[in-house]
Amino acid sequence: MSTVSLRQTTIAAGKRRSHFKKYLVAYSFILPNLIGFAIFTLVPMVFSLALSFMNWDGANQISWAGLDNFRRLLTDETFGISLRNTLFFVSGNVPLTMMASLGLALLLNQPLRGRNLFRTTFFFPYVASLVAVAVVWNMLFFPSAGPVNQVLISLGVQNPPRWAASVDWAMPTVIMASVWKGMGYYMIIYLAALQSIPSTLYEAAAVDGANGWQKFRHITLPMLTPATFFISVMLIISSFKIFDLIMVMTGGGPGRATNVLVIHIYNTAFREFRFGYSSSIAMVLLVMVLGITIVQFYMERRWVKYQ
């Protein structure tokens, strides 16, 4: 109470000049970050939209292209393939990572000895560098002599898949590596959500004679929907952005089997120097990511239950 009344007196006594000074102080806090943020993030964002309507190779005169770049997308075979590949990756990576991370979280959400050790172990691949991880995966899944295929052969598999080296298996291999690397991170979010479910709910259900599955289906899952919503938004965005893992594991190949949108953007911009066209591909990526995120937020109230 005393602070409130004191604050009121200072405000009442404050003159316009002191307000101005207060604003100045506030802006001085913001400015170091804001200047950099505006120049290196906001300006390029706007520039990116403008660039998608331009033709520019970075050296010659920049010229207006209108909708040409977007029209070209329709006939660009590689764009179509990378769009399909991206959707393939998203539709594999998102559900698998979610199921794996929920499974791990449920296992760890018990009074276990060494729980922290397990948690650390499952989380570790997430902080390991993608390049190092991609290299090991490639070696483990080496088609001819890799340990995975040698094990498969010794188990009697006649023609084990050629994994990252085969057109059909390259994307599943990348998805597998991605799930392995990412699930520990989302597990921690699920674990935090699980631990916030009041135990009284389970006790009440037990009194009513609910079995394990019923408790899971009618208490755990509904109580986890906010976490599931959050994870699905994050995971979908990050899956659309996939680049590093694929770049190191397959380079977009074999052929164009794992050529995803960001690899196409990268190649168009930094190998072919078609900056305008690459920006129009980037706009497609942006519209898809934002579109899906907006739809998710719109659908949120239909299935997400907040306490």
């Binding site: 802006y27 170091p32 993030t41 520039f47 990116s48 296992l107 560098s129 390049v131 002599a145 680049f243």
Partner: protein, 292 residues
């Protein structure tokens, strides 16, 4: 009557052997967890094992997990084959510089967003949040063009400038700062402390967990960054460890053992940081759900 009899039958074992049932469940849980943990660690264990072998033995089957004659010389060779030390030093320099700048500028701005009042605050904060939702890949090309105009391509300054002012860092710290009660700050103001004094002597000391979280996320992200250096750095003497590792893979694609040794060495700083500060990692993710 029948159904109740059936019920007692079903329940009987757990009444008579409740401990045994619980213990069996435990054993199964542990068995699953241990095998999953091994599965998670297997690639790293294989990496260690392979890094100590001769190239011709790396793919020998059955796998010899502990090499009979460990080739420690592999760990010397990687430093001489490619300028690994330079890559290491470059990455360290970038990581430290970017992390320090980011934590400083972010916490400074976050204080104003959380605790000060000024016109345009909410709109500006909305712009910050909005920018987080936009993938970097969408505007990386204009950024590159801009940096080229500034003459900063193939220069560490470009990567530093691009990553020092993070909207994400502002958001993370602002969320934490908001939770610190205004009463503490008001008391300090009445005692005549300036806003800068409050920021340095009250806000920062109270926010150690949040600052640690941002420090860890940023440094791990910069250390592991691959796409940024790939786009901006072309000179050998400027490259980072991730680029160096990839170069190594491409140049010596058959030197399996050396590649594994190099990959392992590139992981060590992150492993140390992670193990030392994993508490903050976990808390940071659990409370904010943020991503590095």
């Amino acid at each position: 009557m029948d159904s109740s009899a059936a019920q007692t039958l079903v329940h009987e074992p757990s009444v008579i052997y409740p401990r045994l049932k619980i213990r069996l469940g435990r054993v199964i849980t542990y068995a699953i967890l241990i095998s999953l943990a091994l599965l998670m660690l297997l690639p790293f264990l294989w990496m260690i094992s392979a890094s100590l072998k001769m190239d011709k033995d790396v793919f020998r089957y059955p796998i010899e997990w502990v090499p009979a004659i460990p080739q420690w010389s592999n760990y010397i060779a990687i430093w001489t084959r490619i300028p690994f030390l330079t890559f290491f030093a470059n990455t360290l320099k970038l990581t430290v510089t970017i992390t320090l700048l980011q934590v400083f500028t972010s916490s400074f701005a976050a204080y104003a967003f959380a605790k000060l009042h000024f016109p345009g605050r909410d709109l500006l904060f909305l712009a910050y949040i909005g920018s987080i939702a936009i993938p970097w890949q969408v505007y990386m090309v204009p950024q590159f063009i801009m940096m080229r105009q500034l003459g900063l391509v193939d220069n560490h300054a470009s990567l530093i400038l691009l990553q020092a002012f993070s909207a994400f860092g502002v958001f993370l710290l602002r969320q934490f700062f908001v939770s610190i009660p205004d009463e503490i700050l008001d008391a300090a103001r009445i005692d005549g402390m300036s806003e800068y004094g409050i920021y340095f002597r009250i806000m920062l000391p109270l926010s150690k967990p949040a600052l640690a979280t941002l420090t860890i996320f940023t440094s791990v992200a910069v250390w592991n960054d691959f796409m940024g250096p790939l786009i901006y750095l072309t000179s050998q003497h400027l490259k980072t460890i991730q680029l160096g590792l990839r170069m190594f893979i491409q140049q010596y694609s058959a030197d399996y053992a050396l590649i594994m040794a190099a990959a392992l060495v590139s992981l060590i700083p992150v492993v140390i940081l992670f193990l030392a500060l994993q508490r903050f990692f976990v808390e940071g993710i659990a409370t904010t759900g943020v991503k590095g």
